[in-house]
């Protein structure tokens, strides 16, 4: 049996409140209305309602008798009225429902207002001799509570609290006490008298005031109140108490079925349910159209997300996270006579360069010859530093890179070779210019730093002959991870905490510093290091800083976006952008400072910058870890952190996964060989979408739920795995042949890319005659691997994942064109168009196009890539040949199948 309707049980339900309010009986409504009207009346200032209607003991008299009836309707303000209404409504409603409207009117207009007021006036005026006016319907609240309490007492006399038994009739007294304590300006006496009357009512002493039932019936019958008044509670309708027998019919309709929670949720979202039901009834849309729409939305959202990043709302101002760094808090003393020494060292090096020029040759020989190495060593020796050399030799693409690193260590005066900072000055800069000033500056700084006793970390000065291989050889050997043709280091120090590279490749003064921070494979140094450099350079030294070769960055949206894009391209290719890049794989944060422009900053300013940076790094108590390692910089002082930018690449990677999962579902429930009568003949321009559409329309609109078919996995799995393994062949070829053959290899690969999918398609369709389901499975597996890989890659190298994801985006939408639905000619045209489009997006063609666009030689690019693979450990090629290329070939083969299907 259901609980009575009058008691709305929890959980609170708004719809139930609404229905409750709508079902309030007549007298309750009138009372509420009166309270509202009197409250509104108080807003006017001419006539004080409170003064007029409240019970004031002093003014008690026959002329003011009306007050005994008006005071419950009048309140002192909004909250007074609201709280009383909230408390009164359920009580009054219940009373009226139990006793009928007429009885309620008779009682509440009569004795139930006058009696408590009378008691109050008596006590207040004649016992206490005070004159406190009372007003408000709380009188009725406590009165009804009192009567309820008596009723509860009859059925349930005690309320046990431990061993003590509290009679339940006292509960209104507690409530009254609590209210008078908690709520200010409440009349305790008034409430008390109301409770007293309530007790009397509950005990039945006030029955004499209740009009006899016969009279009530007569009035009701004569006036036809039941028919005329809405919400009228008839004498017959009254419920005779809550525990009486209720007719089942009254509750059934209101309370609903046991599943009413479902009903309520349906009421909340009728449109959503309708959409879901519609979807369920339209599996063709659910399995075929919806995934395409979702995938497309994912791709668009991913791109739009990236475009939003430069906005102020999505990017943040940079800040120094590591308090120990204290950038720019020290005075840099590198100046004065140190410049004389700088000039002296520079002359020494220039002499060596002049000396190694053959007679009659104008251009001096800039190579890092043993003579240069010896000169650097002799200067270091004269300074009293420990120094050592390291020979290395790398062979990549048939080119040998060899050289000799010179390095020296300033041992921290009280240190114990546990930590070190590296300062690198390569003989040749990233752009292959002679870094004479940089090397000289490093030598001068070495001599200068030696005098300081404050170093807590060893400082290593490294002079590699070039910016590509030298640092890599050195850092590999430092961790004893060097290949056989690289010498181990004879002199070592502790764990490297940071690296700085100085480049000053010209003789004039410079204007600003260009900070390079990209590492190998898109790894980045801790943002704190970059921020420290910017803070010191800009804040302390007053030198401008640039980023990503953006020389005139005006902080506009376009400039910010361009900076991000340049950063992403570098990150995506994953090559070393400078000597600092080699440090990154070993979790050593490093940056390159390049002097740029023609201004008034001299080498001493650069020296002071480096000094201040070294002092900051020297302050470090822990390895740089506080700030971000994953970020996109759009300005030297604005960045986006991984949490903000990652969804962009994830969305693009997710599009493949969505497609793969739906294809998997579709192959299980959705036999593709059934013919659909309503296959449309409409054509679309876009081959990619069109091919797909063809295939979709074949499916029946109403599939049988039991139509579960077995998936035949052998062929699709073998093909997809085989293609991924096949990717190792181009990977090997492009990293191991001589540089001369790179253009040839590229063109060959374009040709191979053209033929291989068609060959695959021809062989498979004639040899194995795969089922339509298997085509879908091939696509599903291929996209699944792609999606999985790209989403994983996004956390490591966001940019690479994003770029590959975009280039692979069409693969989500290509499919085999069903031979049964289209005319032969149309099918061939569409398939050829699709293949042509896909071939434009093949790895090799993209490489060629990019080379054309940037105006660089394919051979150079591939030589560099192979060098990166051999020396730096770049794995962009693995992603290209073992992830992108196999997915691409599967996509092409799928389109190719439509040419060969019987």
């Amino acid at each position: 049996m259901a609980t009575p309707a009058a008691l709305p049980p929890l959980p609170f339900n708004p719809s139930r409140v609404r229905s409750y309010v709508l079902r309030l009986p007549l007298f309750t409504r009138l009372v509420l209305l009166a309270i509202l009207v009197f409250w509104l009346l108080e807003f006017q200032t001419m006539w004080s309602v409170v003064q007029w209607g409240s019970v004031i003991p002093e003014e008690a008299g026959f002329g003011t008798m009306y007050r005994l009836n008006t005071y419950p309707f009048i309140h002192l303000g909004f909250f007074h009225a609201l709280l009383n209404v909230l408390a009164l409504t359920p009580l009054l409603e219940r009373f009226e429902a139990e006793h009928g409207t007429l009885t309620a009117v008779a009682l509440f207009i009569g004795p139930l207002s006058t009696l408590p007021a009378g008691i109050y006036i008596l006590v207040e005026k004649f016992v206490l001799h005070r004159n406190t006016a009372v007003v408000g319907s709380s009188i009725w609240v406590f009165l009804l509570l009192g009567s309820e309490a008596i009723r509860t007492f009859k059925s349930n006399p005690y309320f046990s609290l431990g061993t003590t038994k509290i009679p339940t009739w006292t509960s209104p007294l507690f409530a009254c006490a609590l209210v008078s304590i908690l709520v200010p300006n409440t009349s305790f006496l008034g409430h008390l008298s109301a409770i007293l009357v309530g007790y009397l009512l509950g005990l039945g002493f006030l029955k004499i005031f209740v009009p006899p039932e016969k009279v009530l019936r007569w009035i009701e019958g004569k006036l036809n109140l039941l028919g005329r008044l809405p919400h009228y509670v008839s004498v017959d309708q009254k419920t005779y108490g809550r525990y009486g027998v209720l007719p089942t019919t009254t509750t059934g309709g209101e309370r609903g079925t046991p599943m009413s929670f479902l009903g309520s949720s349906q009421r909340l979202g009728p449109t959503t349910t309708a959409v879901i039901r519609k979807l369920r009834n339209n599996p063709h849309f659910l399995f075929v159209h919806l995934p395409h729409i979702l995938s497309f939305i994912c791709i668009v959202a991913g791109v739009v997300w990236l475009l939003l990043l430069p906005l102020n709302d999505y990017s943040r101002q940079t800040y120094i996270s590591e308090n120990a760094l204290l950038p720019g808090q020290v005075h840099a003393y590198f100046s004065g006579s140190e410049q004389h020494i700088f000039r002296g060292y520079k002359k020494e090096l220039e002499d060596v360069l002049a000396g190694q020029t053959e007679d009659g040759q104008e251009r001096r020989n800039d190579e890092f010859t043993p003579a240069v190495s010896d000169k650097i060593q002799s200067i270091l020796k004269a300074t009293g530093l420990k120094f050592a050399t390291q020979n290395y030799e790398y062979t990549s693409s048939g080119i040998t890179h060899q050289g000799q690193n010179v390095y020296s260590i300033i041992q921290a005066p009280r240190g114990d070779a546990t930590e070190a900072i590296v300062l690198v000055a390569a003989w040749k800069t990233v752009d292959d210019e002679l870094n004479l000033n940089g090397v000289t500056l490093a030598l001068t700084l070495a001599r200068y730093f030696k005098r300081w006793s404050l170093w807590s970390k060893d400082i290593i000065f490294l002079f590699p002959p070039d910016s590509k291989a030298g640092t890599q050889a050195w850092i590999d050997a430092y961790h004893d991870m060097q290949p056989a043709f690289v010498q181990p280091l004879p002199l070592k120090s502790g764990a490297l905490q940071g690296g700085l590279v100085i480049e000053y490749p010209f003789d004039h003064r410079f204007e600003s510093l260009h900070i390079l921070h990209d590492g190998v494979n898109g790894q980045l140094p801790n943002l704190d290091l970059f921020n420290t450099a910017v803070s010191i350079t800009g804040g302390q030294m007053g030198i401008g800083t640039n980023l990503q070769e953006m020389w005139d960055h005006d902080d506009s949206y376009e400039m910010r976006l361009e900076t991000i894009m340049r950063g992403m391209v570098k990150q995506g290719f994953g090559y070393a952008t400078g000597p600092h890049s080699s440090f990154m794989p070993y979790h050593i944060d490093a940056i390159t400072l390049q002097t740029k422009g023609d201004g008034w900053q001299d080498e001493m300013a650069l020296g002071r910058t480096v000094e201040s940076l070294c002092r900051s790094l020297n302050n470090l108590l822990e390895h740089l870890h506080q700030s971000f390692f994953f970020y996109l910089l759009m300005q030297t002082n604005r960045f986006v952190s991984i949490g903000t930018y990652l969804p962009s690449a994830m969305l693009i990677a997710g599009n493949f996964t969505i497609m793969a999962i739906t294809l998997w579902l579709r192959t299980g429930y959705y036999p593709g060989n059934q013919q659909s009568p309503q296959a449309s003949k409409s054509t679309k321009e876009q081959a990619a979408t069109a091919t797909d559409k063809r295939d979709d329309k074949q499916s029946p609109a109403q599939p049988d739920a039991n139509n579960i078919i077995e998936r035949q996995l052998a062929l699709p799995l073998t093909l997809v795995v085989g293609l991924h393994l096949l990717g190792l062949i181009p990977l090997y070829i492009f990293n191991n042949i001589s540089h001369k053959y790179y253009p040839t290899a590229t063109y060959t690969s374009i040709l191979a890319n053209l033929i291989l999918p068609l060959l695959l398609a021809a062989i498979l369709s004639h040899g194995l005659n795969p089922k339509p389901q298997q085509y879908l499975l091939i696509k599903s597996f291929s996209l699944l691997i792609l999606g999985l890989f790209l989403s994983t890659l996004a956390t490591l190298n966001f940019s690479l994942s994003f770029m590959i994801g975009l280039l692979c985006a069409p693969l989500s939408f290509v499919n085999r064109i069903n031979p049964h639905t289209n005319s032969c000619l149309l099918r061939y045209i569409l398939a050829t168009l699709g293949l042509a489009l896909l071939n434009v997006l093949s790895p090799s063609v993209v490489l060629l196009a990019a080379c054309k666009y940037f105006g660089v030689d394919v051979e150079t690019v591939l030589t560099q890539a192979a060098f990166g693979w051999d020396v730096w450990g770049v794995w962009t090629q693995v992603v290209v040949w073992c992830v992108w290329w196999p997915a691409w070939v599967s996509g092409c083969a799928l389109v190719g199948f439509s040419l060969f299907s019987s």
């Binding site: 479902l262 006579s337 002359k347 004269a382 009280r414 070779a417």
Partner: protein, 594 residues
């Protein structure tokens, strides 16, 4: 004659002097300029107490604080070292006292404790470390079981002990401890003159801890001559290598600013030399200095408690005799016949100073070649595993070197001893992989127990002449519980230096000790804001994903009509229907159902 033999001589002299007196005090200071403007200052303070008075707690020169701790902890022999910096053997030659008076970076403590068994010894050891921790203001109380080892062959008893005693050797290191003035002050308080007089009055924290290398040691051991009563000897040393240039900088202007252009020493022979271009000329002459300049304060006369104040020559200087040395009046200079040593007497309460002007010299004090050089580094990268590489270089062309290599590794560094490999590089520079057993004569290995004790590895090695031997082994880095990380977790964890004991180099009794530098081991460190983020994130994910998926899985979506039908179909529903019907029949009513 070399510094090595001189120091050995001092050592022997010290030992012989011990035998004669029952309770006396000696102090000495040896100064020796080293290459690259360094100056080695070796302070030595020795005193003793007869065993009888020691047992009766009747202390005269022996510090009472230390004596009581030793008695309380049943410690028969104690060696305590505080060291900072690294000894540059390449430039400075062999170590003072043959390395016997120095420890690894930080604090090193080893002691022989008389106890019935290992547990009792360890309990006493903990008592000892706690007490010394208070006495020396050092974190010695952090030497717990994980940092305590029981070396087998690396340390020897220095004193004479009765055969009946059951001695346990315990050894502990704190490589990360920073030694500073708070350790020096209690150290000086142990001296009879407490740094107020005698050579110890030179010891000033500011200069001492600005040194390039610095080591303080306390050695206590009982000595029992064949005839005569036993006595307890305490030997305290302070060895520092000061940078003369740096120490001479005035305290109010310690910043090494660039010198004014006119004071720049330039190589004027260079063709490009001009007012604004200068190739710096490093001066070849020996630096001039004085005790007051170097130590920041003067030597305030002899310590009056020294035996035979008049005959003692506590201050010795090792420079060629041709160098001019100006001493304060009253001091008597004695030139030793070896041509390099001169010693000075001190007068009580008469300040002593010693000034050496800058001078071009032709002869230099010869420095010995180190017998062996060792380098130990962590190689590899990544958070999971790494490798240890130890390089031993034997510079001698004729003699092979035998030694004991002792290292203690913290438990979170888990070595794989089976990966121990050796390679040898001759003077030809060719590196050959050889089995490690070719060099290892004996080995003692005690594996670590997580959170209880560290790894102990002792190897007896022989390095052939003129060769460099590289030992490598791999290790795995343990993942600590997040509460076990120190506040500066990302700095890395200190690994104590290895101790190398060269045996019979100068006779069987006086081994040479070499210590490698300490290491910094980066461990996988959690992002400590992570737990908070993770809890929030996982809670949200669980609440959202799990909640809705679970809901979807267990809930069946049916229409209201279906629901009624389904309820009626189930056993429970039918049973309920039956009950209602039955009850209605009993009550004689007809239930109106929908």
């Amino acid at each position: 004659m070399t510094v090595l033999s001189l120091l050995t001589l001092l050592f022997v002299v010290a030992l012989s002097s011990f035998t004669s007196a029952t309770s006396d005090y000696h102090e000495s200071l040896n100064l020796q300029p080293l290459p690259q403007s360094a100056l080695l200052a070796s302070f030595n303070f020795r005193s003793n107490e007869s065993q009888e008075s020691f047992d009766e707690r009747n202390f005269r020169y022996f510090p009472r604080a230390l004596g009581q701790i030793l008695q309380h902890a049943n410690t028969k022999e104690l060696h305590l070292r505080f060291t900072t910096g690294r000894w540059d053997a390449e430039s400075w030659g062999p170590r003072p006292w043959n390395g016997t008076k120095e420890g690894g970076t930080g604090v090193e403590l080893w002691a022989w404790i008389d106890a019935s068994d290992d547990e009792a010894a360890f309990a006493k050891w903990i008592t000892l470390t706690q007490s010394l921790s208070g006495l020396f203001c050092a974190s010695l109380n952090f030497i717990d079981s994980t940092r305590t080892t029981r070396p087998v062959a690396s340390f020897e008893l220095m004193g004479d002990h009765p055969a009946s005693s059951n001695l346990h050797l315990l050894h502990g290191t704190l490589p990360g401890e920073v030694v500073c003035t708070e350790n020096l002050t209690p150290f000086l308080k142990l001296l009879p003159c407490k740094g107020k007089a005698g050579v110890s009055s030179l010891l000033d924290g500011h200069k001492l801890f600005d040194a390039s290398w610095q080591s303080m040691s306390v050695d206590i051991s009982p000595v029992c001559p064949q005839s005569g009563e036993c006595s307890v000897h305490i030997d305290q040393t302070v060895d520092i290598v000061l940078d003369i240039d740096r120490s001479k900088r005035p305290r109010d202007n310690p910043i090494p600013r660039p010198v004014p252009s006119d004071q720049l020493a330039c190589d004027t022979s260079k063709p490009y030399h001009s007012d604004d271009t200068c190739y710096p000329l490093e001066s070849t002459s020996e630096k001039g200095w004085s005790l007051t300049e170097i130590f920041g304060r003067g030597l305030s006369g002899a310590c009056p408690l020294t035996e035979n104040v008049d005959q003692e020559e506590p201050v010795c200087l090792r420079v060629p005799h041709e160098r001019e040395v100006v001493v304060a009046s009253g001091a008597v200079e004695t030139k030793k016949p070896d041509g390099f040593t001169r010693c000075f007497t001190l007068q009580p309460s008469t300040p002593f100073d010693l000034t050496i002007p800058e001078q071009e010299v032709t002869t230099h004090v010869p420095l010995d070649e180190p017998v062996l050089s060792a380098e130990r580094t962590i190689v590899g990268h990544g958070q999971e595993r790494g490798g240890m590489r130890i390089i031993f270089d034997n510079p001698s062309d004729t003699n092979s070197v035998d030694f004991i290599y002792f290292e203690t590794l913290p438990w979170f560094l888990r070595p794989y001893v089976h990966t121990l490999q050796a390679s040898i590089t001759g003077r030809d520079g060719l590196r050959r992989q050889v089995p490690a057993s070719q060099f290892i004569r004996e080995s003692f290995y005690r594996p670590a127990i997580d959170r209880e004790r560290g790894t102990q590895l002792e190897l007896a090695l022989t390095i052939p002449p003129a060769s460099t031997v590289t030992l490598t082994y791999d290790f795995e880095k343990a993942i600590l519980r997040y509460t076990e990380y120190p506040p500066d977790a990302n700095r890395g964890f200190n690994v104590a230096p290895a101790v190398i004991k060269l045996g019979a180099a100068n006779g069987p009794n006086h081994p040479i000790y070499i210590r490698t530098t300490s290491l910094l081991l980066p461990l996988p460190t959690p992002d400590f804001s992570m737990p908070y983020n993770v809890i929030i994130l996982t809670s949200t994910v669980i609440a959202l994903a799990f909640g809705s998926i679970f809901n979807l899985l267990v809930r069946r979506f049916v229409t209201a009509e279906e629901a009624t039908a389904l309820t009626a179909q189930t056993f429970k529903g039918r049973l309920a229907g039956k009950i209602v019907a039955l009850r209605d029949r009993i009550k004689g009513k007809t239930a109106k159902t929908e």
